[in-house]
Each structure stands twice: as C-alpha cells, then as structure tokens.
C-alpha cells in the first residue's frame, strides 16, 4: 500500500528532521501522551510536539535501570520513561526543550518529579482534576492558559486565534480520519488488523501533522476499496492503562498466535484519542478544554470513573466484540481495582468475558501470556 510505504519513509527520517528543525531554532516540546496536552497549542506557536513517554515501551532494561531512581511500586511504563532517559539510547529524549506533564495520578507525577530531580530539562506541570465538575473544568482551563503562556515565552511566538484555529482544523482533520478508519473495523472483515491500526495511531504522534493527514487520507481511500473474504475471526476489545510504542506483544499474541483480531481499543495513555473534535466557535481555549477534558473518555483515575466503563460496554456492542482483554501495567492501582468489578458489569450488560493481564515489560511474561490468551480465545470462539 502506498500510504503505508510513505508512512514508513517519514518515520525513518523523522529523527533527522527533528534534529534539523531544532538546529534551525524550532523548539521541541516533550509531553506525556495521556491525552491531556492539546498539540494544537504547540503547533500554533510553531514548536514541535514529541510524546516523551510514547516513543518506546515494552522493554525490560529501562525498567530495571529505573530501579536506582525510584522504587518498583510505580507503574511500569512510568518507570521505563526514567530508564530511557538514563540509558541515553533514545535521541528523541535529548532533543526536548520543555517537558509538559499534565498531572493525572501519582505514577505520572513520578515521571515529572524524577525528570526534575535527576535531569536539567525544564518541566511544566498542570493539574488534571479527577472529576468533571465545573470547578474541575475551570482549573484544567487555567492549566491550559499556563501552558499557552509558557509556550509563547519559550518560542517567542504569540498564539493568536488565527494560528490556533489553523492548528485545530489540522488536528480535527486528523481525528476525523482516524475515526473514519477506526469505524471501518466494524465490518465483518476489518480492512486492517489491530496492530496496523495502533502502529498508525502511534506514528501520528511522531511525524509532521500535515504529512500524517495526507497519509491518512490516502489510506482511507485505499482501505475503503479493499475487499476481504476472510472468515469472521473472534473480535477483541483491548483496554487498559497504557499502550506504548513497541509494546505490541498482546496484539501479536491475539492476532498471530490466537487467530483473533483486535477491533477496538481504549487506553488512557499512549493512544491518540479521536472520538471528539474541538469546536471552532467561541473561545478557542475553552473549546480545547471542552474537548480534551469534558468530552474526553476519562481514565480509571477519575472519580467516579463509571463513564469509561459504560463506554467500554458501548464499544463492545458497536464493534460486535466477542471478548475483552484488559491489558495493564504493573502497579497501576486504579486499573487494578477497576479490573476487579468490571468483569461482573461487563457480563451483566453484554454477556461477554474478560481476561486481565498485567505486564512489567518482562520477556519472561510471553509464555504465560500466550497460554492465557490462546485459552481465552478458544473459550470465546466456542461461545
């Protein structure tokens, strides 16, 4: 497929492009890809957003290295981000002029604090309230204003309404195209696998937004003409705390070994959220806060977080799934607790079963994961 080849080419050259952009004086803004940092603001001041915690995940060495800096009882993904920075194997982590961390829970706060304590990178925090109250909305909006001021100061570029509108239009278009591609997976034979979709989603964090939109347009057109005569496979909804780039073991086990297909995902971190678009009417900052906070499906650390569980049930129905796999990282306590009572709700509402697996990015997990996933797929296939 032409679109995918173009995408691969862009990804291969992106780190060189970024280095060149930085040499030219463009600022590189690192951020935690938890869906609470509007990229629009970064684009509107002509800086380049780079998701720090996304670029890599799924490897054990950074997790081990992080042990010298913080105890193991913090979420694996968050520990890994400290490990990657220490290992200095990933050039992207050294390009960052400012790290933006929307503070969601203590695991994420640990990343911000460790970067502050152990590195010279400037870190900007702003809080993400844990409830969608009017107070919470206002506080999040104030946080976005702090971010805007900081970006303007750092880049020397004023974020005007006109620039912001252009950035919103571009990002909305990307979201709309992702939505279109995602909805194609409702088909009996989805035109792309779960792994292909998530790789596409991850790539969108890295490459130039304009180029990404073009690729997505081409891909939409290619996929809509694609015909498949494969038999129906067991369909999986994959959900959990974080899905980092490179952490594809569950996809591989489900789709290669298990003979099933992931048709929908819901993750708090690591995946681009595309279900809501930013309005271009009224106050644009409020519109950003409305989309990124008020209309965002909340993660498990919202109180209460039932909205997300209801969304999972809706996704299960709309995408005609046969089972849910709950993939989370070790010590993400909010998810651990939810995973205790969600299977009952899921069963009552949809009759579906759920498999929970928790990873510490350790290669030794693969064997047990394979056994459990294969068994789960066999069970739901029978059903």
């Amino acid at each position: 497929m032409q679109a995918r080849e173009k995408l691969s080419a862009h990804l291969r050259s992106r780190i060189i492009e970024l280095s060149e952009l930085k040499r030219e004086g463009r600022k590189v803004i690192g951020y935690l890809p938890g869906g609470y940092m509007p990229e629009e603001l970064v684009y509107a001041c002509e800086a380049v957003p780079v998701p720090v915690g996304l670029f890599r995940g799924g490897e054990h060495e950074p997790v081990l290295v992080a042990g010298a800096y913080l105890p193991r009882w913090i979420d694996t993904f968050c520990r890994a981000q400290i490990g990657y920075k220490v290992l200095k194997e990933e050039p992207l982590y050294d390009l960052i002029d400012l790290l933006v961390v929307p503070i969601t829970d203590n695991n994420v706060r640990a990343i911000a604090d460790c970067w502050n304590f152990y590195t010279d990178v400037e870190v900007l925090r702003y809080g993400v309230p844990h409830a969608k109250t009017e107070n919470g909305f206002r506080y999040y909006l104030e946080g976005l204003h702090l971010l805007k001021q900081k970006l303007e100061k750092l880049t020397g570029t004023k974020i005007t309404d006109s620039r912001l509108k252009d950035a919103i239009r571009l990002c909305n278009e990307e979201r709309r195209l992702f939505q279109e591609i995602s909805l194609m997976r409702k088909a009996k034979c989805p035109p792309l696998t779960g792994r292909e979709f998530v790789e596409l989603n991850h790539a969108s964090f890295l490459i130039d937004k304009g180029a990404m939109v073009e690729i997505l347009r081409s891909l939409c057109s290619e996929l809509s003409q694609q015909e498949s005569s494969r038999p129906r496979q067991p369909r999986i909804l994959l959900t959990g705390s974080t899905l980092a780039l490179g952490d594809y073991k569950v996809y591989d086990l489900v789709e290669n070994t298990g003979g099933a297909i992931v048709v929908a995902e819901e993750f708090a971190e690591g995946m681009r959220h595309f279900s809501a678009e930013v309005s271009l009417d009224g106050d644009l900052m409020e519109a950003l806060a409305d989309c990124y906070f008020r209309r965002r499906i909340p993660p498990a650390w919202f109180r209460p977080a039932r909205e997300r569980l209801d969304y999972l049930i809706r996704l299960s129905r709309e995408f005609d799934v046969d089972g849910v796999i709950w993939y989370q990282l070790m010590y993400r306590d909010s998810y651990d607790i939810e995973s205790f009572y969600f299977p009952r709700i899921l069963k009552e509402e949809t009759g579906l079963s759920m498999l929970k697996i928790a990873s510490d990015y350790d290669a030794s997990e693969l064997g047990p994961f394979r056994t459990r996933i294969e068994t789960f797929i066999q069970i739901i296939r029978k059903n």
């Binding site: 010298a68 800096y69 913080l70 105890p71 009882w73 913090i74 503070i103 829970d105 203590n106 695991n107 706060r109 640990a110 911000a112 604090d113 460790c114 502050n116 304590f117 870190v123 900007l124 925090r125 702003y126 809080g127 993400v128 309230p129 844990h130 409830a131 109250t133 107070n135 919470g136 206002r138 506080y139 104030e142 946080g143 498990a300 650390w301 109180r303 209460p304 977080a305 070790m330 010590y331 306590d333 909010s334 651990d336 607790i337 939810e338 205790f340 009572y341 709700i345 928790a358």
Partner: protein, 466 residues
C-alpha cells in the same frame, strides 16, 4: 469478664459496669475472645507505659471508639459517614460535629490501632480486603484493605456515605468506588491537584487555593444535602478550632522533646495520641485536648525529674510516621539506643505557622492544606523533611516509607539523596509499611537499624572529639 483488661486500659469500675455489655458485644462481632484479650493484656504491658494517665486515657478512648464503630448500625445511628485516610482532618471534624444524628469515623485507623496495636489481629481483616478487590502482590495499601476488609468481615457496618480526598492518594478514592460497586455506598470526593511547580515547594499559587476552596464548598454542600444538616460558617470554624487545639498541644510536646535529653517518653505511647487527634471523631474532639494536656504535663514532669526511655546523649533521629498497627517497630528503634524527638508527619513547618490571609473556612483549610508541603509536591516533601531535620537538629533520618503508598514511596530515594547531600546527615531509607507488617518484621529490620544506630553513635563521638 474483661474487667482486668479494661482496667489496664484506664476504665474506672463504674465505666466498666456501664460499658461492658456494649464492649462484649463489639468484641463478639469482631471475633475477639479470651485468648485475644490475654494477648492484648500482654501487649499492653510490653509496649505501652500505662503508668502515664495520657496513655490510659488514650487506650480507653480507642476501645470506646471501636465499640461505637462496630455497634453504630445496631444502635440505630441515623447516618454513618466514613471519611478516609489520608484525610483533610478539618473536613472530618466538620462532619463529626455536624449533628448528633451523624456518626463519623475513620474505620481503618480505629481497626489499625485496636485490632493491630492492641490485639495483633488485623491480618484477617487485611486478607478479607485482599479477597475483595485489593489483591496481594500489587502494592495495595493495607489501610484501604482494612477499610474494605472490616466491612467485608462484618466487623464494621456498611456506611451510608464516604468522604474521600482524591488528590494525594489515588487508591483510596478508588477503594471507595469499590465500596460503591459492592455495597452501593454513596461516595463524596474532595478533589485537588498536586501540580505545584518544582521550584515552588511552599509558595501557593492563588488558583490552587481557589480550586481546592471551591471543592471544599462543593463537598460541604453535597454533604449537607445528603445528611440533611446545615453547617454555618461559625460551626465550621468551631470544627476547625476543635481539631487544631490538641494539635497545638502536640506541637508543644514536640518542642519539649526537642530540648529534652534523655528522651522522656516513648513514641509508641505518643502514637496513641497522634492517631487519636489526626483521625478525629466526636469523642476525640471532645476529649482530645484534655488528653493532650495530660501528656504534656506528664512529659514535663519527667523532663524535670531527668527520666528517660533512652540513654542520655543518645543520637537523635527524625522518623516519618507513627506505626499504626505494630508498636514493636518504634519500640525496637528506641531499644537500639536511638532517640526519636520528632515524627515528621505531625510537625508544623514554619510556612504553616503564619496566619492565613483568608477568612472563610473553605479558603483557610485550602490554603493550609496546599501549603502543607507533603500535600503539595515531592519538592514540598523534600523541603518539609529537610526543615524538620534541621529544626530538631537530628543526627540522622530513619525513613521507614510505605512501599504501598505511591505518593510517599516514589519520592523516598529523592528525599534520601537530597537530605544527605544538603544537610550532610545519614538517611536510612527502609521499605516498610506502618499499616501492615506482613511483608517485614521487627526482627528483619533490627539488624539494619542497629547498624544505623552504631553509625550515628560513631559520628557523634567523632564530632565530640573534634
């Protein structure tokens, strides 16, 4: 049947006569039998100094609180509210003082002190919590396991509502959501964000106070509607003052301990008071000040007489938080010859001693909480500990941090590195838990603490020779 035990816990004969049937009933519900009473008596003799009136009064009030809690539903208390730990204690005081119809208690702390410290029987409660959504091996907080496990085991009644702070800890509000899913309990969450800039460890951005104050007002309103009570500003101020008075006395006690040599009282004994006033309910709010004053008076008398629980000239260490379930841990540390003049968690740093510019209850509480350091940020925690160690002129910091408490554990190594580098005193960071001793034991810690004590003694000697 339990007269001797109750007497050792400060009950007078008349009180025993009046309360024994209720206490018997509560013990029966909690599964406490003669063997447990025998063990409790032995533990009280071993760990607590019941020659102190303050200690006896504290033990008594803890047993009364336990009885009230276990029997709250049976005795027809109309509205049962469980605030959680870590609390915003002034909000807890507010709820506790709202109305005679409202029964407000922090069950996990009551069970930790009574079933843990006194009876050494907290583990079955924790295991019940583990079986119902807070599994072992995932660093689940044992305090939350106690909160849940007590209800699961039927030791404490299912509450009508919970009130939980949801910013310092992520797990406690989630545990309350679990209570909602399992038992239909109504949850009220008090939100805030720990998003202070790294270079602002104690300064407070007005927007942070505004948000938290707005949340406090929202929670008050929600509680008023749910409980059918009205809380005037004056009532709220009374609640704030009722909480603060014994805390002021406790600060005076710490000032005495700072100057005292030898250390006149064990922190194990003071821990009974600490938990009493930091997890307030109606009885503690009414009697806490008198008990604090008794402790202060008795400590003063001991200082004047030169009485000590560790040797004169012993190295001084700062400690983080009183052990909630096992009095043996702090006792062991003192037995290695280390004096503990301060447990940092209740110490009031200078930036909290200034008078708040705000006038309303909500804003004053918000301002104080956000400025608190520990509730503010990791840098706030570091500055807080540094200042505490400096002010008490300690020779070292023994930081027993709770491995299952995310906001505390992730900053532990940063705290250690910062204090060692900036103050030049040794810090022993021990991974432990004050809510649960199943993953470690006094014996396992002892070797390391002894080595640390030896190190501090050597440093002290060297400094004296210089």
């Amino acid at each position: 049947m339990y007269s001797q035990f109750l007497q050792s816990c400060g009950f007078e004969a008349e009180e025993i006569r009046k309360e024994s049937s209720r206490i018997d009933r509560a013990f029966h519900i909690a599964g406490l039998g003669p063997e447990d009473i025998e063990r409790a008596q032995w533990r009280i003799r071993k760990y607590f100094d019941t020659t102190l009136l303050g200690v006896r009064q504290s033990l008594k009030i803890w047993l009364k609180r336990f009885t009230d809690l276990v029997l709250a539903r049976e005795e027809g208390r109309k509205i049962i509210v469980y605030p959680s730990w870590p609390p915003e204690p002034r909000i807890v005081s507010m709820v506790a003082m709202a109305s005679e119809d409202v029964f407000c208690e922090t069950p996990e702390i009551v069970m930790d002190v009574v079933l843990g410290q006194i009876f050494d029987k907290i583990n079955p409660v924790l295991e019940a919590g583990e079986e119902h959504g807070l599994p072992p091996g995932l660093a689940m907080c044992a305090l939350n396991q106690a909160r849940l496990g007590g209800i699961v085991k039927g030791v404490v009644p299912v509450p009508d509502m919970t009130i939980t702070t949801s910013f310092f800890c992520d797990q406690t509000p989630k545990t309350d959501e679990l209570l909602h899913e399992l038992y239909g309990v109504r949850n009220i969450f008090l939100d805030n964000c720990m998003d202070a800039a790294w270079d602002e460890p104690v300064e407070v951005a007005p927007r942070c106070v505004s948000y938290f104050a707005a949340e406090i007002r929202r929670v008050i309103k929600e509680f008023e509607e749910a409980a059918g009570v009205t809380l005037s500003e004056e009532r709220l101020r009374e609640a704030r003052a009722a909480y603060a008075r014994p805390i002021f006395v406790y600060q005076e006690i710490m000032q005495m301990l700072k100057e005292a040599d030898p250390q006149p009282i064990s922190q194990v004994d003071l821990g009974l008071l600490y938990w009493l006033i930091q997890a307030p309910e109606q009885k503690s709010l009414k009697e806490g000040l008198a008990i604090s004053n008794n402790f202060a008076r008795e400590i003063k008398a001991r200082i004047e007489s030169g009485y000590g629980v560790v040797a004169k000239g012993a190295p001084k260490i700062a400690w983080f938080c009183h052990h909630a379930t096992d009095p043996g841990v702090m006792r062991m540390v003192e037995q290695t010859g280390l004096a503990i003049p301060v447990t940092a968690v209740i110490w009031t740093p200078p930036w909290l001693r200034i008078k708040s510019e705000f006038t309303t209850f909500a804003e004053r509480v918000a301002d104080q909480t956000v400025r608190g350091g520990i509730n503010r940020s990791t840098k706030g925690i570091i500055e807080f500990f540094k200042r505490c160690c400096k002010e008490f002129n300690v020779d070292g910091f023994l930081y027993l941090y709770f491995f299952s408490c995310r906001p505390i554990c992730f900053s532990a190594l940063m705290v250690k590195k910062a204090i060692e580098k900036e103050l030049g005193i040794p810090v022993l960071a021990l991974e432990g838990d004050v809510w649960d001793t199943r993953s470690y034991s006094v014996e396992a810690l002892k070797t390391r603490v002894e080595t640390f004590a030896e190190l501090l003694r050597s440093r002290k000697l060297l400094e004296a020779r210089r």
